[in-house]
Amino acid sequence: MKSKITNIIKEQNKKGRIALIPFITAGYPSVEGFINVVKGLVDGGSDVIEIGMPFSDPIAEGPTIQKSSHIAIENGVNIKKSLDLVQKIRSSGINIPIVMMGYINPILSIGVSNFAKLATNVGVNGLIIADIPNEELKQIQISSEKNSLDTIPLISLNSSKKRIELGCKYAQGFIYCISILGVTGSRSSVSLDVKEKVKMVKNFTNIPVGVGFGVSKPSHVKNIKEYADAVIVGSALIDEIAKTKNQPGNTAKKFISNLYKETFK
């Protein structure tokens, strides 16, 4: 069975487009606001949505996502509540692919196979874990075998050929290429080295390759479109939502539709 995530990305690529994957923290800016943000992101033209499950010690995040994570925890959102929110999104008729991003400890805390089952039941399509290296994906896959949850590996700018091969071996859905050495957060430019990395990854797999971390502007997306299949935008979106305070759904919609228009005009 082919992955729903892979299918959607490839469909976009066939139309000459790069798939847009916004990232938002579950329960940010508020529990209600988050649902509206997701609706706005869908209306704005997103192809897949990545949802962060808040963790107390998010070592791969820069200040923006750290803060959103902290606020979400204060709003009472934990791993189970994050999945409840996905269920709410699904029952409102949204069927866009959803990828959950999280840290290993909360997942371990409810049990990896239990998490996989709960996530699949509410309609999650994929999982990214920020603080495990790719050899650990094998264990995650074994634990979630009965479920159709894609495990999405991360490849870094400094990953060796051997490690890229390892990531590709366990990859499902898409492969997440980190565009910088560093934590999440908007950057003014995207390193040229990413292009080389994506090329290397494509030697090992036909699964789509997405680029994320630091991507903040339409010009970045335009550039990445030339060599990658999907692009992930997180901090820039959250910064925008933080700035406007009211009507986060509208802000999210405008952000994505603007990115879409600018990229494909």
Binding site: A60, N78, P106
Partner: protein, 406 residues
């Protein structure tokens, strides 16, 4: 000496201690961890590295540190014979220098010139800043804002030594958050920077490397007690924060018929939420790259630890300690803030040794426990550091301001 013999499974350079340990970090850090592991393993058989390290340990740090028969304490308590292993006499005032210097020398081999470290009590920060001053390396130390307040003298020492001290304002603003920030810096600057972690925690190979540089404490102690008394001790007692002083000491005695006791910080009591008794009260989880006991809530969010001692104020613990707890080889207990202060006073008044608040926990526990032991019992108590850094904390706790007339 039987440590590190092949048959001693429990004492080898290893990624896993039972199920504990491992390497749970972002993919970006894997190349640096692999590079570090390789460099360390090569250094172990490199005569030049070892003679340079030994020279520094002997002539710069002042090793071997003495083992002192605490006759007054023994007399006062009137039960067991107590021997103090004096890491407080090491250069910079704590055992932390053994690891900081070892790792800094290793860096020279790797060829990186920028060092980052985290610090709680400031002892590891001072030790790292010292090693960097001496070996001419750039140094940045992450320290929680809360700890900057309570360990002011050490902050100034680091600055005098040429290190940049970066305040951490996230989370509980203590050691855990300082490690988070150091890891974020490392992910960003991994190609030019080495992270000298300060305890036997973190992803593989750190727990094994830190133990490797701290096991000198145990090796010396074992030789010293044998030459002082002709026998092995009955008990060895050490405090446990992340667990570097304790694992350095315990590693030499794991195969002996010696009872090992690790003392965690119980803060305001393990029945309150205000403690740092990770092994006694936590459950296994993953923080800072390793699977080990962890103070966490039911959702797997990490809880804030509490202790009067900044060096023990950490919700995690080194993975080998989790293993040694589960196998029953080491018994982990805890001492409250109050008990630590009793220990602090006891050692100060009876022996004229002002200990750091961290080993004061071990002393505090011991003074309770000793009532049940007898005269022939021999105990090594590890004094991991001296108390100068803590004078302000102790005074404040007692409602005294050091700026006023005493």
């Amino acid at each position: 000496m039987n440590i590190d013999s092949p048959k001693n499974k429990d004492n080898q350079f290893t990624e896993r201690f039972g199920d504990y340990g491992g390497r749970y970090v972002p993919e970006t850090l894997i190349p640096a961890l692999e590079e570090l592991e390789k460099a360390y393993l090569i250094s172990q058989n490199d005569p030049e590295f070892n003679s340079e390290l030994n020279d520094l340990l002997n002539n710069y740090v002042g090793r071997p540190t003495p083992m002192f028969y605490a006759r007054n304490l023994t007399k006062k308590i009137g039960t067991a014979q107590i021997f103090l292993k004096r890491e407080d006499l090491a250069h910079t005032g704590a055992h932390k220098i053994n690891n900081a210097l070892g790792q800094a020398l290793l860096l020279k081999k790797i060829g990186k010139n920028r060092v980052i470290a985290e610090t709680g009590a400031g002892q590891h920060g001072v030790a790292t800043a010292t090693a960097c001053a001496m070996l001419d390396m750039e140094c940045a130390i992450y320290m929680g804002e809360e700890d900057i307040k309570r360990q002011a003298p050490n902050v100034y020492r680091m600055k005098l030594l040429g290190a940049e001290v970066i305040p951490v304002t996230t989370g509980s603003k203590t050691l855990k958050d300082a490690i988070n920030e150091a890891l974020r810096d490392w992910v960003t600057n991994v190609e030019t920077t080495h992270y000298i972690i300060g305890s036997a925690v973190g992803p593989h190979p750190y727990p094994s490397i830190v133990k490797g540089f701290q096991k000198i404490i145990g090796i010396e102690s074992r030789n010293q007690i044998l030459s002082l008394t002709n026998t092995l001790p009955d008990y060895v007692v050490a405090c446990v924060g992340g667990g570097s002083n304790a694992i350095g000491m315990f590693s030499a005695f794991l195969n002996d018929d010696v009872k090992l006791i690790g003392v965690e910080a119980a803060g305001e009591g393990t029945m309150t939420p205000q403690h740092a008794a990770t092994i006694s009260k936590g459950r296994p989880g993953i923080l800072h790259g390793a699977f080990s006991y962890l103070l966490q809530d039911k959702d797997g969010q990490v809880q804030e630890a509490h202790s009067i001692s900044a060096g023990l104020d950490y919700p995690g613990v080194g993975p080998e300690h989790s293993y040694l707890n589960d196998t029953g080889r080491v018994r982990y207990v805890s001492a409250t803030d109050e008990e630590a202060l009793l220990g602090f006073d006891l050692l100060t008044k009876t022996e004229g040794i002002i200990p750091a608040l961290e080993p004061s926990h071990a002393m505090g526990y011991l003074s309770k426990f000793l009532k049940k032991s007898d005269k022939k019992t021999k105990i090594i108590l590890l004094i991991s550091g001296r108390g100068d850094k803590d004078l302000d904390t102790v005074a404040t706790y007692r409602g005294i301001s050091l700026k006023d007339k005493l």
